[in-house]
Point group: C2
Amino acid sequence: MPEARVESTRALRIEAVPGFDREVDVIVVGHGGAGASAAIEAARAGADTLVIERMTRGGGTTALSTGVVYFGGGTRVQKACGFDDPVDEMIKAVRVAAGAHADEAKVRRFCGESVEHFDWICDLGVEFKDSYVAEKTTHPLDDNCLFYSGNELAYPFADAAAPSPRGHKPAHPGEAGGFLMEPFLKSTETAGARVLTDCRAERLIQHEDGRVVGLVARRNDERLHLKARRGVILCAGGFVENETMLRQHAPHLLQCNYKCSTPGDDGLGIRIGAGAGGNPVNMHEGLVLNAYYPPASNLKGILVDRNGQRFINEDAYIGRTSDAIITRADGRAWLVVDDECYGRSQGFHKLAAVEESIEGLERALGLPEGRLVATVASYNTHAARGEDPTFHKAPEHLKPLSSPPFAALDCCTSNSFYGVLTLGGLATDAESRVLTSEQQPIVGLYAAGRNAAGLCLEGRTYASGLSIGDATFFGRVAGRNAAALAPWK
Amino acid sequence: MPEARVESTRALRIEAVPGFDREVDVIVVGHGGAGASAAIEAARAGADTLVIERMTRGGGTTALSTGVVYFGGGTRVQKACGFDDPVDEMIKAVRVAAGAHADEAKVRRFCGESVEHFDWICDLGVEFKDSYVAEKTTHPLDDNCLFYSGNELAYPFADAAAPSPRGHKPAHPGEAGGFLMEPFLKSTETAGARVLTDCRAERLIQHEDGRVVGLVARRNDERLHLKARRGVILCAGGFVENETMLRQHAPHLLQCNYKCSTPGDDGLGIRIGAGAGGNPVNMHEGLVLNAYYPPASNLKGILVDRNGQRFINEDAYIGRTSDAIITRADGRAWLVVDDECYGRSQGFHKLAAVEESIEGLERALGLPEGRLVATVASYNTHAARGEDPTFHKAPEHLKPLSSPPFAALDCCTSNSFYGVLTLGGLATDAESRVLTSEQQPIVGLYAAGRNAAGLCLEGRTYASGLSIGDATFFGRVAGRNAAALAPWK
């Protein structure tokens, strides 16, 4: 699929429409996690719903992910595993996980209705095992379900709320995104929504009063003018595949070497929304993922920069440590481990050096003389007491690095696996309505998933499962609201 | 002046205009450095030119600044002071100073025509002395002119180009922004442009084909529809006065406590441009200024974070060190000096502690035990050899910190003077044309100054004088191009 080159994403005035090829109540752009959720809810509410999807089949980036969804407040799985997780504690946790400038109304709604959302997804046919994985991991590598997927147990988040595991992985070994999405795709059709694949949105159609009333799309060589009596929902993903947009908005993400995306994540949905008055915000933020665990024993190592200095607590979620590697360490860092704690990671890291002494490791890495030695000496002194006064790694991950040989795992962005997705998009409210730069809703226009600046705004505070949680939850909100909007003619 | 609250900044279709109150060739929005330059050039080219200005008098943020302008390539002042500064070296320097993703065409044009631009500003009546200030300073505090205003002599920039001083301060003691702007304001009128003060832009007027053909403005209680036969030039400043926009685009700048701005820098010009299809980019970047020098002897101190670690070479331009304090040190840093190098700075810093030993200073600051002691010991060992292997401060600023008492200047964002301005705005090309998200020029629409994402895109690479240099230079480009555009009717 070639990259979308469009002449203009400025909304077409309805007077300029030569005639509508098709007329429905609700149009959903994109058939990933957000779009499917929107379409299912819109169709179930009785709206004549059409999904247009650029690819030959839906699924989107959700289908390519681990499939982890962030739920809490006492889901069936949480309760079965002995976690009560009061909603108030989930709110406190999500408030910090969503970022310093998270939307309080979105946080409260997402948490307050999380158990209902879990049940809804189960009812679609997605299976989750009533099982808990205690060891710190990026996601259960087998078909187990519940785990601590973010910074819940790490400084400074552990003090913000009573911790509970909220990452829920569907009951499928390995990456479970496809397993998660299949019931969504099937449910889209059983709910009565129609899906037009290989069809690309080009621009919105807008009434003079600002209301969005349809969409121009292209399917093969044919241009389609589609009328949406009630609303259009943009769920077309992020912009990590668009190098120009990355350079303009988030150039630090360009150094990441693995895009968590389909080719459709080229920001077209965001640009189309802006073309009708939508306001792209938070465009500089992304989620960056470099995983030096599992096994969790690697967390007993220390991350150092090219000055031999630590810069973050190593037991933080990888979205946080990876962001720190890029913003604080200029993309150059190593995880220093000893023979006792080192465990082969998932294969994403090479060993930059193995030496019998820290002095030797320092030399082998070309670090300034004495700096790594001083860092390890200071770390070991405190670790022996179960303390980390500088970066506050949790006691269970502290031990002196004293069993040779010592090794450095190469975590440099140039040599290691760095996954990335964007967290910027159209400004929306807790009703999934797209807002203008003057904070006014654009009537008839909704957005969800990475097409929106949604619930989760910062990679450095993120928890795994928040993006799919946000996309599916606020996709549903968009679908219900669009279906309930009074038709414009 | 109350903050601009506007219902919508979406461009008005020309068909909806009830009638034009006034008709000119070129409308310039904002009468600061960029707007005045645009207006002078447009009027001199024969265009009937109208400037609208929100405040009672022009000058803008340029008038509130130090007045430093970045020129090179061998200006009269540079030559008189013995600096040759070949244009090719200036290009190399500006290429890195403008930021990692600077526009090469803008860089080349700005440098290639810099001497002409200097002469043009002199011809307006701005005086610059043929004098050079060798000591590192934020700007000459007296009426002297030429100085190294950026990172030209600092790591890693010193290797990028043969260094020359390019900061030019007008011949006026102290802050010289007003002194700089007076001839611009006067020349606007002598060139024949008319100025409408106390008049606020509301939205652009746009033809169906996308061309911008006028502006809706408000003056007192009157709404004006102004027709621009040739073009509209947006020079209405940045958005540092708009808290909502800062939160949406650049939340890290919210911790700065002094806005380098007039109340007009609320982003209205950027939003108005976006309302006609313009594309705000680089919105996360700002210039942050916390000056712990002059005197230059303070550069012999070391900046440490709350872990007692260094994180940047202290002789870098303050835009770079201040950015590092915010992004690498979480806004908490101290400049540690000894009795020999300490010199009272401009009064922007309190002494957080004064102690007879580094151990005592470490305790007084509440830093983790032994970290500052280790940092100073390592720094002193290398400084005695004239080396700084970790951060590469230049040898002239290196000396062991060994003369008690020792002091810590409080550089925390919460306790110290942090000036800030925004560097994001409408995407433009080297012809100052506003570009859409699809990289197409919007016919009839130009932008310059902080209303645009201009020449200088990063505070961490910035040099003093680049913003006024960019604003006046590309303001002139906009003025000439708008005047030369064929009228639309």
